[in-house]
């Protein structure tokens, strides 16, 4: 393999792996930065998005759990991936609104530990409901037929769908960034983040923008669940597994910073890809790829305890 193909491969693999972290981390980060709410149920929204998306886009065969016992073994609408993504975004957005209104809001003024307990408990409840309903068997998610080839670059083995994941992430995160940075809605949200008491004194009600922030964060997690589906068969515990790297991305990027989350996700993804694909003599660095992520995290936090772009939140 030529050096150029090597670098392209590392770049594309890294960007794609980082993209999933970014989709999750942006939602997590804006909720944490704006509402100061620690949402351990973010992974549950991810897996709900994956299952709803699978149901709408493709369909699933259920061979265990309550639904199978009740005779519902072939489920699904088969409406395609694009419809699936739109439906997932809407459904999980609404779930996010309901979650904020009926659960999260009651915990805004409570300690972080209370927030962690309630959201972690909720995540387990969702996981178990999925498990008893649909079984714990992993469900394959096919790549959309329009993205099922591989990238036509000699020496680079990457499926087209991974490129689409990068593009979808860029588009969605770009929209959210524009919404927060360049609209009146975003201005209110940012002002509320800096000094919510002053904003309220100015007669602006913050509950509405806050609930929408929550819904947007949730929708991003849901879409992440569906777009990551073709990379890894989904099962009820997948949401819990992805939560840790998502939180690491938020912390490295700086809580509340969209640009920070993007930078952190990209750095983590490329670090991981580079370590896996680098060989020094006969020694392959792949076994250090997981360690590498946390080493990078430790170095960044030692140098900038507030995260890469953490200050931006305080001064924005």
């Amino acid at each position: 393999m030529s050096l150029v193909a090597d670098l392209i491969s590392i770049l594309l693999n890294g960007l794609q792996q980082g993209a999933i972290y970014i989709l999750l981390a942006v939602g997590l980060s804006i909720i944490l930065g704006t509402l100061e709410f620690v949402n351990f149920a973010h992974g549950a929204l991810y897996i709900i998005g994956a299952y709803v998306g699978l149901y709408v886009a493709q369909g699933l065969v259920v061979s265990e759990g309550y639904l199978a016992e009740a005779g519902f073994s072939d489920l699904g609408l088969g409406m395609g991936f694009i419809v699936g993504m739109i439906v997932v975004a809407l459904v999980v957005f609404v779930l996010g609104l309901l979650f904020e209104r009926f659960i999260a809001r009651a915990f805004y003024d409570r300690p972080d530990t209370d927030q962690i307990l309630v959201t972690f408990g909720l995540a387990i409840i969702v996981q178990e409901i999925l498990r008893v309903s649909l079984g714990s068997t992993s469900q394959p998610v096919n790549q959309p037929t329009w993205a099922s080839g591989s990238v036509p670059i000699p020496g680079v083995a990457i499926s087209e769908w991974r490129i689409y994941i990068i593009l979808i992430t860029a588009l969605l995160v770009g929209i959210v960034y524009a919404l927060v940075e360049y609209t009146d809605f975003g201005l209110v949200v940012r002002a509320g983040t800096m000094d919510d008491e002053m904003v309220r004194l100015l007669g602006i009600k913050l509950s509405r923008p806050y609930i929408i922030v929550f819904g947007i964060g949730a929708a991003l997690a849901g879409v992440a669940g569906l777009v990551a589906g073709p990379l890894s068969p989904i099962n009820p515990t997948a949401g819990t597994d992805i939560l840790v790297p998502a939180f690491v991305t938020v912390v490295i990027g700086g809580v509340g910073s969209i640009r920070g989350a993007v930078a952190a996700g990209t750095i983590l993804g490329i670090t991981q890809a580079a370590l896996i694909q680098t060989q020094i003599g006969t020694y392959n660095l792949a076994p250090w790829s997981q360690v590498g992520i946390y080493a990078i995290a430790a170095i960044i936090l030692l140098v900038r305890p507030e995260g890469l772009l953490g200050e931006e939140v305080d001064t924005a």
Binding site: S9, S136, P140, Q143, S159, S232, P233, A286
Partner: protein, 437 residues
């Protein structure tokens, strides 16, 4: 701890009646207390230590179904208890009703060892079974050896389980990586040709390393293939794309994915999605039904070996499939057959010994020959407690033939005589079984 305490009291009391087996259905009069023997009361408890979550969670769920079915048949008759195991009667085992406790290993060796302690010390398990991960099985059987409780290994495929980490109190029905490589290498040589280059990705723990080493050995010795590179991947890796990019660019002809469970489903699917299969032939040395189900049509054309499959057409296999389907309305996987078989094998050995006294049961299992679990003639070898048995070699069906419950075809069932090895060679050469008592 409990076991040691009981044994100590037994010594002090000079083997009082209460601590020796009487004739109350256990029939081992005169044997000293050992492990959780003798059993008090009318119920004997089996401990099932299985992965209900983690990368091997799907396999664990199916194992649990089979364990529950085995317990049901031991107490009430049915399945192989009625048809294949003459030693069993369907009214318990040597007069005891069988009960069970289960624990989730989470596919973690530390958790699995702690579970084993609890199953033995808290639930008084007289036998422990389980597995799915070899590091789990090795740790649990080590604990069982210390506590003098039998471990009937379910799914564990590392050479070390009955090689350098073998124990007197552990028995393995499942074949190992050495057997797999001996069975698979000739098939691959015939299918793809000789003097090819291969590249390996392997799960970074005892099992993955076993498969990697054995495949390298037999692909070199057999069809004369040479290894280009071999790369370890962490257990539970979510994205293999970077590993696959490197593999594809290596120029090798064949890619071996030594991953299992959900990890195996992910790596083979990601390889096919990335188009790796257009330039390399993909082999997954060990796979199973839940894996193939999760991988979908990515498994098409992929060679591997399986513990057992419902497509193996003989009386015991068909009876097990039928009993399992009747109970759960689903086709059993290879790990399920192992779980069911190992539970009944233990119970039958107890019946032959006439007692749950562990050394007597061990001696009944050692060098025991049988042909009642659907895999032909087998021997549970005395020197390493490794079943010498046939190995089914399979190939994923074409995409248009894949339906629920039908993912691969049996290419051949390599006879035990073709894959066996001596007690002083291969993994067995490193095996030193511990004491009986």
């Amino acid at each position: 701890m409990k076991a040691a305490g009981v044994a100590g009291i037994a010594g002090l009391a000079g083997c009082t009646d209460s601590l020796t087996s009487g004739d109350g259905g256990d029939g081992g009069g005169g044997n000293e207390a050992l492990g959780n023997y003798p059993i008090e009361g009318d119920t004997a408890t089996f401990g099932f230590n299985i992965p209900l979550s983690g990368p091997y969670g799907s396999e664990g769920q199916d194992e649990l179904r089979a364990y529950e079915l085995a317990v049901k048949h031991l107490n009430n008759g049915g399945g192989w208890v009625d048809s294949q195991f003459d030693d069993l009667s369907g009214d318990g085992v040597v007069g005891k009703t069988i009960d069970y406790s289960e624990a989730d290993t989470e596919t973690d060796k530390g958790k699995a060892r702690e579970n084993a302690r609890q199953l033995i010390e808290r639930d008084n398990a007289i036998m422990v079974s389980g597995g799915s991960s070899s590091s789990v099985a090795i740790n649990v059987q080590d604990e069982c050896q210390k506590q003098k409780v039998l471990f009937m290994a379910c799914l564990t495929h590392s050479n070390d389980t009955t090689g350098k980490d073998c124990v007197r109190y552990g028995f393995r029905e499942m074949f190992n990586a050495y057997h797999t490589a001996k069975a698979l290498a000739p098939v691959l040589g015939e299918e793809y040709g000789e003097d090819l280059e291969f590249y390996q990705l392997y799960a970074d723990y005892t099992w993955g390393k076993s498969v990697e080493e054995s495949m390298r050995q037999f692909l070199s010795e057999g069809p004369g293939w040479s290894e280009v590179n071999s790369v370890a991947t962490p257990l539970g890796t979510s994205d293999y794309s970077s590993y696959l990019s490197d593999a594809q660019s290596s120029g090798a002809d064949v890619l071996l994915l030594n991953h299992y469970g959900l990890d195996g489903a992910k790596s083979v699917r990601q390889a096919v999605d990335a188009g790796v299969d257009e330039e390399m032939d993909i082999v997954v040395p060990l796979y199973n039904r839940p894996m193939a189900e999760a991988a979908g049509d990515a498994i098409s054309g992929v060679f591997g070996t399986v513990a057992w499959d419902s497509a193996i057409d003989n009386t015991p296999s068909n009876e097990f499939t039928s009993a399992f389907q009747e109970e759960y309305d689903r086709i059993p996987s290879g790990p399920a057959q192992l779980a069911y078989a190992q539970t009944l094998q233990y119970a039958a050995a107890v019946e032959r010994a006439g007692s749950f006294y562990p050394p007597d049961v061990i001696k009944e299992l050692e060098d025991y020959s049988y042909s009642n679990i659907g895999m032909g003639e087998e021997t549970m070898r005395k020197c390493d407690h490794q079943a010498q048995r046939a190995v089914p070699v399979v190939r994923g069906l074409p995409a248009d033939q894949i339906e629920t419950g039908n993912y691969f075809e049996i290419v051949n069932t390599t006879e035990a005589s073709q894959v066996t090895y001596g007690c002083d060679t291969g993994p067995a050469a490193q095996c030193e079984l511990g004491p009986y008592e």
